[in-house]
């Protein structure tokens, strides 16, 4: 097992190096939008302004040198400085990770709170109207994209509930490390902003969890040990929850892992609509402003998260189900 983990870690490092190199190359080999933007904004000769910007950002040095600086910086945990704000990207990411994490965890909570009971219910009441109704709802939830749902939800709330979420009023719920920022003034205001995006993203994920869990439950409910449990005269609750659900939940771990993997920058659209100052919005703005170090840092961060969450899921899986062995 340890050998397997070490081998996977090695492969992961290779993948991350590839990601870093690919982004670096793509950004450097395409005509630079950042220089154009700078030249347009500057007074006087646009050519000179472009050259000045190029020198000040270090883009005039030979490509291998830039690459070496970048990669050796990564090894030290340095993601470079933002072209725009000149602040370290690492620091900017640290400031913005809170809202994203909060939104992601809220979504996960909504997803599990809806997906698991609904999945169990649909499996137990298979082929009844309850099953059809719940499955129809998941088809709808999976089909309507989050941003369309968000727009419709805003419209609905404003028209029929007379309420619009205070979109610009985002406040951090939890102070960030090193915890010297002032404590959240008003958790209620925070939740008002977060409620809709958390619900929308969470229900979408909940639909995936529900479908997955339902088919797993159906398979497990047909197993012989479940029939034995029924034959022993156990209560339905005990059979379903203790014998069937515990085994059916295993593959759901995979789904939850996948969701966690997209948690860091997966909410780009929702963060942009509800103006939540998280990593998704940060990445989008980085791309819009041709801020190479920000784009590089964010892609690498997302890749890191995905790769290691995948590894974690595989290891967790083997730990939860002793029958699974990795060679």
């Amino acid at each position: 097992m340890l050998r397997y983990i070490l081998w996977r870690l090695l492969l992961n490092l290779l993948v991350l190096l590839l990601v870093a190199s690919l982004v670096f190359l793509v950004l450097r080999l395409t005509p630079g939008g950042v220089l154009e933007a700078a030249a347009q904004g500057a007074q006087g000769d646009p050519r000179q302004a472009r050259e000045a910007v190029r020198r000040s950002l270090g883009l005039d040095r030979p490509l291998p040198w830039q690459y070496w600086d970048y990669i050796s910086g990564l090894a030290r945990g340095d993601l470079g400085q933002s072209f725009r704000t000149r602040a370290p990207v690492m620091e900017e990411i640290r400031q913005r990770i809170g809202p994203s994490l909060e939104l992601g965890l809220l979504q996960l909570a909504v997803a599990i709170a809806t997906g698991v009971p609904v999945g169990v219910l649909a499996a137990v009441r298979r082929d009844t109207w309850a099953d059809y109704l719940l499955r129809g709802a998941t088809v709808l939830l999976l089909g309507i994209p989050a941003f369309v749902l968000a727009i419709f939800a805003l419209l609905f709330c404003a028209r029929y509930l007379g309420w619009t979420p205070p979109i610009t009023a985002y406040r951090d719920l939890v102070p960030l490390p090193p915890f010297d920022t002032p404590a959240p003034e008003d958790p209620w205001a925070n939740l008002q902003v977060m409620a809709l995006p958390a619900l929308i993203g969470g229900l979408g994920t909940g639909a995936i969890v529900m479908r997955f869990l339902r088919s797993q439950m159906l398979e497990v409910l047909g197993r012989e040990y479940v029939r034995t449990a029924w034959a022993k005269g156990l209560q339905a609750r005990a059979v379903v929850l203790r014998h069937a659900l515990r085994n059916a939940l295993l593959p759901v771990v995979t789904v939850v892992g996948l969701v966690l993997g997209t948690l860091v920058a997966g909410n780009v659209v929702l963060e942009a609509i509800f103006l939540i100052p998280g990593l998704g919005l940060y990445a989008v703005n980085g791309v819009r402003q041709n801020d190479y170090p920000v784009v590089q840092g964010m892609t690498l961060l997302v890749a890191c998260f995905l790769v290691f969450v995948n590894l974690l899921v595989d290891v967790l899986y083997a730990w939860l189900d002793p029958r699974i062995r990795y060679a």
């Binding site: 727009i151 419209l155 780009v268």
Partner: protein, 336 residues
């Protein structure tokens, strides 16, 4: 006792069978096909409805072909020749209208002239939706076609030769897969001259890792088969073995990957146009309409409702049709 279990037939029977007139295959096949369609309708009414919706999308996007040829380009030349105004669009995408007093006919409700009303610039919402259908549909088709073909090729080569090549190719695919799709699309339009062609290629790159994984798993099991070994022993080249003996196994899964991914591609294009409306190509698009309509959605929600409804319907139709096709072609690919 069913006939096919009898091992020995009498000589008379064998002769009678040989002299029997050829069966009327076309009619029988046609009947079988009709029965399949009926069964589909009965067993998967939702899937059948979704397929009808996809066909309706295709009908919406067709227009009179023009004899002007060239490399496929979106949205004017989706299939290599130019297509005129969609038959079902009543006006051009940028035509604007004035009311009787000569002012711009903004925010009109549905009427006989404007089935879904007009938007903030006095343009016909229905016509823009129909023009947008062509963009969404052919964008998805092209992106998925490129992605599945490319991915299948990579998967074939990777799993056929294995070894270091496989190890490296797979890591490259892992790397590609860990890019956030929306950011890749945004990068593509910010780095080079934005066009739907560039976007389709960018999305194809995003799709490739998934497609190659499916092809790879098929090839991994097929390459052990005796007939592959036999072909090699007979002196067939690697290329011949791959194309004639291995590739046919990967076609059905590739078709499934293609159809199941279409919904996500429509979604990706709409999401990009919505998030970054200033940089994407400006031709009529559902995502753009949603983004523009957002500015006035509380007073005049009809534009947002129409565009959002179109996106949701299209994504849902593609998802359900893809699921139905997958169950028919290759149920093993079912995830849940």
């Amino acid at each position: 006792m069913p006939g096919w279990t009898r091992a020995s037939a009498t000589p008379e029977e064998a002769a009678a069978r040989q002299s029997a007139p050829p069966l009327p295959w076309p009619q029988a096949g046609e009947r079988a096909r009709r029965r399949t369609l009926l069964r589909l309708l009965r067993r998967r009414p939702l899937g059948a409805a979704a397929m009808a919706a996809v066909l309706a999308m295709l009908a919406l996007s067709l227009g009179p072909p023009q004899p002007r040829f060239g490399l496929p380009d979106l949205p004017a030349r989706p299939l290599g020749f130019e297509m005129g105004r969609p038959f079902l669009a009543r006006y051009g995408p940028e035509d604007f209208f004035r009311d009787e007093s000569g002012r711009l006919a903004r925010f009109q409700g549905p009427s006989r002239q404007h089935w879904l009303g007009t938007d903030d610039k006095g343009r016909d919402v229905w016509s823009r939706l129909v023009w947008g259908t062509r963009r969404s549909l052919f964008f998805a088709l092209w992106a998925l076609a490129l992605g599945t073909v490319g991915g299948t090729a990579v998967g074939l080569v990777s799993a056929y030769f294995l070894g270091t090549l496989d190890l490296l190719l797979q890591r490259l695919m892992d790397a590609l897969q860990s890019f956030p799709p929306l950011l890749v699309l945004m990068l593509a339009v910010s780095l080079v001259e934005p066009s739907l062609r560039v976007l389709a290629v960018a999305l194809a790159i995003v799709v490739m890792p998934g497609a190659q994984r499916v092809a790879r798993s098929v090839v991994l099991s097929v390459r052990q088969e005796p007939y592959v070994e036999a072909a090699r022993a007979l002196g067939a080249s690697h290329l011949r073995v791959i194309v004639r003996h291995v590739l046919p196994n990967a076609v059905a899964p590739a078709v499934v990957v293609f159809t199941v991914g279409l919904g996500a591609a429509v979604l990706a294009e709409a999401a990009l146009s919505f998030i970054d409306p200033s940089t994407v190509p400006q031709a009529a698009s559902w995502g753009l309409m949603l983004a523009e309509g957002r500015a006035f959605m509380f007073e005049h929600p009809h534009v947002v409702l129409a565009a959002g409804g179109a996106i949701a319907l299209a994504v849902m139709a593609f998802n359900l049709a893809g699921d139905a096709l997958r169950d028919a072609l290759d149920p093993r690919l079912r995830l849940f």
